[in-house]
Assembly symmetry: C2
Homo-oligomer: 409 residues x 2
Amino acid sequence: MSTHRDQDRPLAGLRVVECATFVAGPSGGMALAQLGADVIRVDPIGGGPDHRRWPVAPAGGSLYWNGLNKGKRSVTVDLSAPEGRELVTALITAPGPQAGILLENTGRAWLSHETLAKRRPDLIHLRVQGHADGRPAVDYTVNAATGVPGVTGPETTAVPVNHVLPAWDLLTGMTATTGLLAALHRRQRTGRGGLIELALADVALASVANLGWLAEAQTTGRDRAKQGNHLYGSFGVDFPTRDGRRVMVVALTASQWRSLCRVTGTEKVFAAMEEALRADFSQDADRYRWRKVIEPILRPWFEDRTAEEAGRELGAARVLWGPYRTFTEVVERERENPLIADVEQPGAGAVASAGSPLRWSGAGPVPPVAAPRLGAHTHEVLSDVLGLTQADLSRLSRAGVIRGASPDR
Amino acid sequence: MSTHRDQDRPLAGLRVVECATFVAGPSGGMALAQLGADVIRVDPIGGGPDHRRWPVAPAGGSLYWNGLNKGKRSVTVDLSAPEGRELVTALITAPGPQAGILLENTGRAWLSHETLAKRRPDLIHLRVQGHADGRPAVDYTVNAATGVPGVTGPETTAVPVNHVLPAWDLLTGMTATTGLLAALHRRQRTGRGGLIELALADVALASVANLGWLAEAQTTGRDRAKQGNHLYGSFGVDFPTRDGRRVMVVALTASQWRSLCRVTGTEKVFAAMEEALRADFSQDADRYRWRKVIEPILRPWFEDRTAEEAGRELGAARVLWGPYRTFTEVVERERENPLIADVEQPGAGAVASAGSPLRWSGAGPVPPVAAPRLGAHTHEVLSDVLGLTQADLSRLSRAGVIRGASPDR
């Protein structure tokens, strides 16, 4: 099941200890596992607070936990017991140039970098935080403070519209893996490790700044309004089709705009309008300014076609478009996509699971593997990494300090 | 201005050539520059299709382009001329263990891995795509097909609600940097480079699968409905406050729920309700099931307080919360945050710009630097990397094959 034995994978041989919960840390750890690292997720006995997080399968297993922890090894230890903490500390600080890498979001004092670096001075330690000052935060609270919900949703909605996708969590996860691998590059060059801190709130704030949205508010002194499903600053919007479906269409560049006009047979209409309005729709600013005039001129073409017909013509014309789908449609549709496969997951049966989207050297995506059963690798890891004997493991088990796979999972 | 000279930075000494536009590729390249790499962005003379992308400053410069290209070196070359292509090919395949890294999204044949690997067999080449089969796509078209807009927005909205944040672009950018650094780790170990492909559509599909959303639709056979601003599968929603503002509040764990009840003085009410409803609000499934009963019981507490008062009390109780802000408020509020600083940007003046959210060894965030003026480093890079002489550069300039910084920027 685990992927860490394939020596050809980019991160083969690397060992990462993960003490993290929910999305950001675990999604980062999973990406490293999908690249071939041996990622050891440590949880308290019985599982962390995310172990039963929704969505859950009818059979009881968390589809969320399974989805975010595939290909890791799972170790469960009593984290309140000094002996349990010592085992985890030993795992984190075990020697070797390919080990000594920690990804965590606990904020616990016994996992402070100062404490751990006494045992392994070159430890690479990435701590995911809510706010940089230590205040807790999650994707949804951070998102409110970025300003994004205020510009999301229908124009007629006066209140903020939250995103449903935990975008900041996912982005923080991949920022964390980038940071960890950069730190590894430095350690290989200089021998130095160190603490790297990464706050969810900072990832979100930097992102809205990087898109120019803060500078725009600053230089204009005002906030943009909601635009519904219209793209900001160019032309893009959704259209209903004859069969009651919708497609999203985008003309971001002048050449994409020309293709869209050509395929929809609207070139002459728009040429006349450009003259009448003294506009130049090859400029994205003008396409944006006149979007509500452009949209109804394009609409009949879509209303005359099924989504499939529209998509076929748009695709042939290299127009940027996408069909709207529901999750059940996505599952059905992506059956032939090698990125997704039904994998037998703990407490869930065979369910749609994703591999890594990174495709190496012309091969397809790395196929998905199962998440571990909670605690399944406790004995194996403590024996492999720390050299514990069967007698040690039995004693620790009896004392309640460690636990193997839960019988119900 | 450029950050690539500080030898203490994690990726100091590394050279990356970027031939990419819009968000995904450029945001990844910028993250590498912020980690200390020398990132050389190559554009056609006059700039790529994203060079004037909105938002733009009153002075004309693209705040978007500036925001996504900070700290890089900019080279402009006639990419339609064979001699221009040869210069770019030479830059990409220049020797050295710290060079030979390409990040691109062009899909151009002359940048095919096969062609480039003839010149440098150990080239690390990450290609960002729309769809894995080569069809074009952008964040907004990919997003429609993930199913996410169908579960986003007010419950009363029958149509899909697009996200405004280009979440898939940003996530693809950081997945790309993770892939590049993993490939570098492998090359250092094995001497092998290779092509790594990464499609925006695959990043999006893998993400909704990883969150368990596809498996949920598959195992239940139905699609979830829109939940407005409610968190799915636990308790979290926004509340209006006395001063006409809103705050987002989340109780993801039993302990966060207890804190929320304690600070709002609702413990007894909820205990009585749990008995009456045979519910257990310490369970996230029950908090979710009864969210519309819970919400109005909590609401008066918020209506009695200003957002600031509510925030102070919630914060002291370690309840997860966040204020809603507009972009102008974010700019004002984050003035003291070292992650954001006013930096003089090309064609824009001094505007709010973000550094890297990754904080190294207890230091603050790496402060922001300016984006390059388009073409500003053409001569410097061709002389540094390819050893071109002043005479070579003059000849190429006169022939229109290269150009330095645009006079208007």
